[in-house]
Each structure stands twice: as structure tokens, then as C-alpha cells.
């Protein structure tokens, strides 16, 4: 059974959230048992020594000593960024960031100054969010800027509780798949690996599968919802973030039966790579390497399976405030930051190694986001929207053709 209390997952987090609140140093196991030496040339290079440590959101990860140092710097930067947010709160008033759009019934202030303050706040907020939302403010900011709070306000307050109650004891193909995936979702995170964590994740995923039967449950959403739970702290907030993400933030049909939205995004991405990184695109094409081989997972899991947690969440800060186009910028940046290496190699396996190593060690979110925003150039929204429309027609036709080919096959068989 579950009550409000069990669904407020915040209490469970206390054991591992100390990393966020008190920002202690990373726990570095220093006994021989836990230290693994890399094989190969750099056997005695201490910087490449493999260590296990807890990252900012409680994931037990493996990296090298440099990663640990970078993570400590990132922690310090988060604290500094927090001070910037508190200072603004002091000057602009508490929760100024929650109402960037002024409602029409505030007749006291003149229209001109109203618009100006809205504009200033929107610009300030955008600049601030790109530099990172402090973890403690993420739930509030995300609910507001993504439109999740507004979405929730259109239904009765009991919506989530009733939805969950309605799903109790029901078995569907979606619930079967969810149950199968629960123990396979970030088992490297102690809370997600616990019964309580998995029960929370189950309710969010099952609840959503009943809200939208067309999506039901798609593998990949388990990782997205798990990370949302870790950030939002309560199941209900995580649920609404998942809802706004699938229904408003991302292009439609990313996770429905043929993943057509995902196919569309992949094609738009390939087109952008050819425009923004023409040398890489040409080189990979000559090797017979389809960038979707790696990028599909990036887009379906919104990088949560590839990038370290805080780096992923910095991307999500922007995703919820500015929309899905940031995913293209980030994906392009990952290729762009390794352009020289990628142009040198000749084997498909080496491309994957480079990209995986890069994403795995991207503990510094600013390194990635600087590339994404300063080195990629302009990417007008309407150009991307047009490209999406164009690709959608092609994708739907191809998927339809494929379905018909396969069903004729089954009839012959």
C-alpha cells in the first residue's frame, strides 16, 4: 500500500543527499581492493587510476582521479551559482523566477513597465538557467518554466492519487515491461536499487502508462523518470514533469509504437551535423557510420544514460526552459569537441570508443555547454521546425512501407 508519505520520496534521499547539502569531499576508496589500475601504457599514471565514487546525485560511478577533481570544482561552482540566485532573490523578491509572465489583472503598474520587467526577467532567467539551476531550486524552477505546474492546475488536486489508485492490481503489457525494467534501471544508484525506490518509479511509470495509452511504456522512459524522481523528490512532481516532457516539450510520438518522432529527430540531427560539422559528417559517411547508431540512445534517454548526472541535468535545465532544440546542440557539441580525433580514425569501433569515453567523462557541464552554445553557431527555431515537417512526411511514408512489407511477409510465411 502507499500513502502520501511513502510517495514523498524526499525522506529516503536523506542518506545519500548529504553530498548535495553539505558538499563533502568525494568518497575515494583508498584500499587496494577498490583501486583498479588501467592496463596499458599509463599503468602508473595516477590521473588515470580508476576509482569508484559517489557523484552529485548519489550515483556510484567509476572514473579517474581527474574526474573526481573536476567534480569537486563543479560542486564549488554550484555553490557560487547558488549565491547568484540568492542575491537575485534578495533584490527581485522571493520566487521572482516563478512568474516571468505577468497576469493581466495587475492593473497597478503601467503596461510599458510591465512588459519591460517581464522581458528583463525572462532574459535574466534564461541566462541564469543556462549557467545552471542550483539542485535545491530545480523542482520549483522546472515545474514553473516547463509548464508542468500549469498543466497540473487544470486538473483536480486528487488527480495523481486517483490515477494511481485506479492502476492498482491491474496488469497490462506496459506494467509487465515496467516490472521487468525496474531492477535494470540505474542499479548503480543505491536508492533506485532499493525496494522503496523501485516502488516509486513503478508508480510514476505505471501511472503515466494509464494516462497516455498510446505511449504506454517505452523503454528509455525508465531512465528519464528515475532521474526526474531524484531531482523532483516527490512522485507527483516527477509524474507531472514526465507528462509535460512527453506532451509539450519534446516532439510528439518520440515514444509511441514506431518511435516515429525519434526517427524524425534523428534525421534532423543528421542534417544539422552535415551543416554544422561538415568534415565530421563526410568522414563518418565515408566510413559507413550512421550517427544514429549512437545518437538514438542520447535522444531517447535525453542523455541520462550517457552523461554524468549533473551534466545531464544542466542539459535538462535548458530543455525545460527553452525546448527540445538544445538536444541537437548538445549532440552536435559532443561530436564537435572531438573533431580532430574523429577525423583521424578509420574504424567504426574507434568512433564509438571516442564518443563513449567523451560522454562518460564529461563531469564538467560548462565544458559541454560552452561548446553547445558558442561553437555551434545559430540554429533558428523556424528552420528546425521546417526541417522536422519535411522529415516527418518522409519518415511516416517509410515506416508505412516497412510495415506493409513485413505484414506481407508474415502472410506468405
Amino acid at each position: 500500500m502507499f500513502g502520501i508519505q511513502t510517495r514523498d520520496v524526499a525522506e529516503d534521499f536523506n542518506s545519500w543527499r548529504r553530498t548535495l547539502r553539505n558538499t563533502p569531499t568525494v568518497s575515494m576508496p583508498m584500499n587496494n581492493h577498490n583501486i583498479m589500475y588501467n592496463t596499458g601504457k599509463s599503468l602508473f599514471n595516477v590521473h588515470l587510476m580508476s576509482v569508484k565514487f559517489e557523484d552529485l546525485y548519489g550515483f556510484m560511478v567509476e572514473g579517474n582521479v581527474d574526474d573526481v577533481n573536476v567534480l569537486n570544482e563543479v560542486r564549488e561552482r554550484i555553490r557560487e551559482q547558488g549565491r547568484v540566485w540568492w542575491a537575485l532573490e534578495a533584490s527581485k523578491g522571493a520566487n521572482w523566477y516563478l512568474q516571468p509572465k505577468i497576469s493581466s489583472n495587475e492593473g497597478v503598474i503601467s503596461v510599458t513597465s510591465l512588459k519591460l520587467s517581464v522581458l528583463t526577467n525572462t532574459i535574466t532567467l534564461r541566462r541564469l538557467i543556462r549557467k545552471g539551476v542550483p539542485p535545491v531550486l530545480r523542482p520549483k524552477i522546472w515545474l514553473s518554466v516547463s509548464g508542468a505546474a500549469k498543466k497540473r492546475s487544470t486538473v483536480p488536486e486528487t488527480y495523481y492519487d486517483e490515477l494511481i489508485r485506479a492502476t492498482e492490481g491491474k496488469t497490462t503489457p506496459a506494467t509487465r515491461q515496467i516490472d521487468h525494467d525496474l531492477p535494470r534501471t540505474f542499479p548503480c544508484h543505491p536508492w533506485l536499487n532499493s525496494d522503496k525506490g523501485q516502488a516509486s518509479l513503478r508508480r510514476v511509470l505505471v501511472g503515466y502508462s494509464f494516462r497516455d495509452s498510446e505511449v504506454g511504456y517505452c523503454q528509455g522512459l525508465n531512465y528519464v523518470a528515475a532521474l526526474l524522481l531524484l531531482v523532483m523528490k516527490t512522485e507527483e512532481d516527477a509524474f507531472w514533469m514526465l507528462a509535460v516532457l512527453l506532451e509539450n516539450v519534446l516532439v510528439s510520438d518520440c515514444y509511441t509504437d514506431t518511435l516515429s518522432g525519434c526517427h524524425v529527430e534523428q534525421r534532423v540531427f543528421k542534417d544539422l551535423l552535415a551543416k554544422k560539422c561538415p568534415r565530421i559528417a563526410a568522414h563518418l559517411e565515408a566510413m559507413g557510420f550512421d550517427v544514429s547508431l549512437v545518437a538514438t540512445e542520447w535522444f531517447l534517454c535525453l542523455f541520462s544514460k550517457s552523461l554524468p548526472s549533473e551534466t545531464t541535468l544542466r542539459v535538462w535545465d535548458i530543455l525545460f526552459n527553452e525546448g527540445a532544440n538544445v538536444l541537437f546542440r548538445v549532440a552536435l557539441a559532443i561530436f564537435k569537441m572531438r573533431e580532430d580525433d574523429l577525423l583521424r580514425i578509420q574504424h567504426i569501433g574507434d568512433v564509438i570508443d571516442i564518443l563513449q569515453t567523451t560522454t562518460h567523462h564529461l563531469y564538467d557541464p560548462d565544458e559541454l555547454l560552452t561548446f553547445a552554445f558558442d561553437k555551434i553557431g545559430s540554429m533558428p527555431t523556424n528552420t528546425i521546425t521546417k526541417e522536422r515537417k519535411k522529415q516527418e512526411t518522409v519518415v511516416l511514408a517509410e515506416l508505412d512501407q516497412r510495415t506493409r512489407r513485413l505484414s506481407s511477409l508474415k502472410m506468405d510465411g
Binding site: 515491461q177 542499479p187 517505452c218 523503454q219 528509455g220 544514429s292 538514438t296
Partner: protein
């Protein structure tokens, strides 16, 4: 692409794993590549890539392995992974009859859409769970024979037959003298006549 290293010929071969969700595709790969088994393998999204080399006599095969996601809706992504593959392992779970049905569909699709030279192996995984078996070895073997597949029951958990599947594929690849061209398709050098290889015992195979 054929290269030489220390006199050894190295052949790159793209290999794809297909099969129902939870059949144990990732576990088979993990066992083969790292010699490990974990009870709860993270679910694969899209596909995961691994590489592993195998020496067969004086030749070396370097497998470029694509381990694909099993959920039905990921089906539409599969062609990207099996396109140009030298070999495919279609995996089912011997304790789950539905996964065997799904495996047959994959075989059918590979035969119709894939490269006709692709070597297809059928692997009945979780062979250690005999108490809950739903698919008999005879049934799977008969199906494999009918469709010209190479068949083995495997257990990623106990490591039974896992390396053997890959080893047999490597042997067949070398026997077929197939090399992968840089565009990802297959080039067949000195195409041998279609033949049955090592028809006896537990296995049967034909180059499709």
C-alpha cells in the same frame, strides 16, 4: 576490410543480436566480451556496441557487435543495425515460448530484408533454467534445420556454449572467406558453393 598484424589476417565482422526483450542478448554479449554475468543488466536503449577478437587457427576475427533493444517498438530501428551484418544471433529464452515466436519473426525478417550472405545463429538462452523450460530443444533444432540456421542452447549465467556460438560464427565467416567492405556491405571473395557445414551433432548450418 582485411588487415594483417604480425602475419595474422584480421577480419572485421559486423554482428548483430536480435530477440525479444529479456531474452538475454546483453548478458550473452557481456559473457562473451568480459566473461561476466550480472543478474540485472541495465536495459539497452537503441543498441549498445562492443568489440571482441577471436583467433581461429592463424586468423583473427574482430567482431563489431551491436546488441539491440528488445522492446517491440524498437523494431523499427533494427534495419540500421543488421544492415551489412556478416552475422546475426537471434536469441530467445527457453523458458518463454513467446520469445521463441518472436525469434522466428526475426529470422523471417532477416531472410527477407537482410543480406543473403549473413550467417544466422539461433541461440536458446537461459539453458540453465531447465525446470521452467517452455521451448524444447528438439523443436528449436527442427526449426533451425528447416531454415538453415546454426543452433545452440546457451546460458550466459553459467557460460555454457556462449563462446562456442561466437567461435562457430567466426569459423563459418572464415570458411566463407567473407570480408566486410568499407561501405558496410559484404563483399564475397572467392564465393564458395552453397554448402552444409558440419551437419552432425548438435549443430547444423548453411550460409544463407
Amino acid at each position: 576490410m582485411a588487415a594483417t598484424a604480425g602475419g595474422n589476417k584480421i577480419r572485421n565482422a559486423k554482428l548483430v543480436l536480435l530477440g525479444d526483450v529479456g531474452a538475454g542478448k546483453s548478458s550473452l554479449v557481456l559473457r562473451f566480451v568480459k566473461g561476466q554475468f550480472v543478474e540485472f543488466q541495465e536495459s539497452t536503449i537503441g543498441a549498445a556496441f562492443f568489440s571482441q577478437t577471436l583467433a581461429v587457427n592463424d586468423e583473427t576475427v574482430k567482431f563489431e557487435i551491436w546488441d539491440t533493444a528488445g522492446q517491440e517498438r524498437y523494431h523499427s530501428l533494427a534495419p540500421m543495425y543488421y544492415r551489412g551484418a556478416a552475422a546475426a544471433i537471434v536469441v530467445y529464452d527457453i523458458t518463454n515460448a513467446a520469445s521463441f515466436t518472436r525469434a522466428k519473426k526475426w529470422v523471417q525478417e532477416l531472410q527477407a530484408q537482410g543480406n543473403s550472405n549473413t550467417i544466422v545463429a539461433l541461440a536458446g538462452n537461459k539453458a540453465d533454467l531447465l525446470d521452467t523450460r517452455q521451448v524444447s530443444a528438439d523443436e528449436a533444432k527442427a526449426y533451425a534445420q528447416e531454415n538453415g540456421l546454426f543452433f545452440m542452447e546457451t546460458s550466459a549465467k553459467t557460460a555454457t556454449n556462449v563462446n562456442d556460438v561466437f567461435y562457430e560464427i567466426a569459423k563459418k565467416l572464415l570458411q566463407g572467406q567473407q570480408v566486410q567492405n568499407p561501405q558496410g556491405g559484404m563483399v564475397l571473395n572467392q564465393r564458395p558453393p552453397e554448402r552444409m557445414v558440419r551437419g552432425g551433432g548438435e549443430e547444423c548450418c548453411r550460409i544463407l
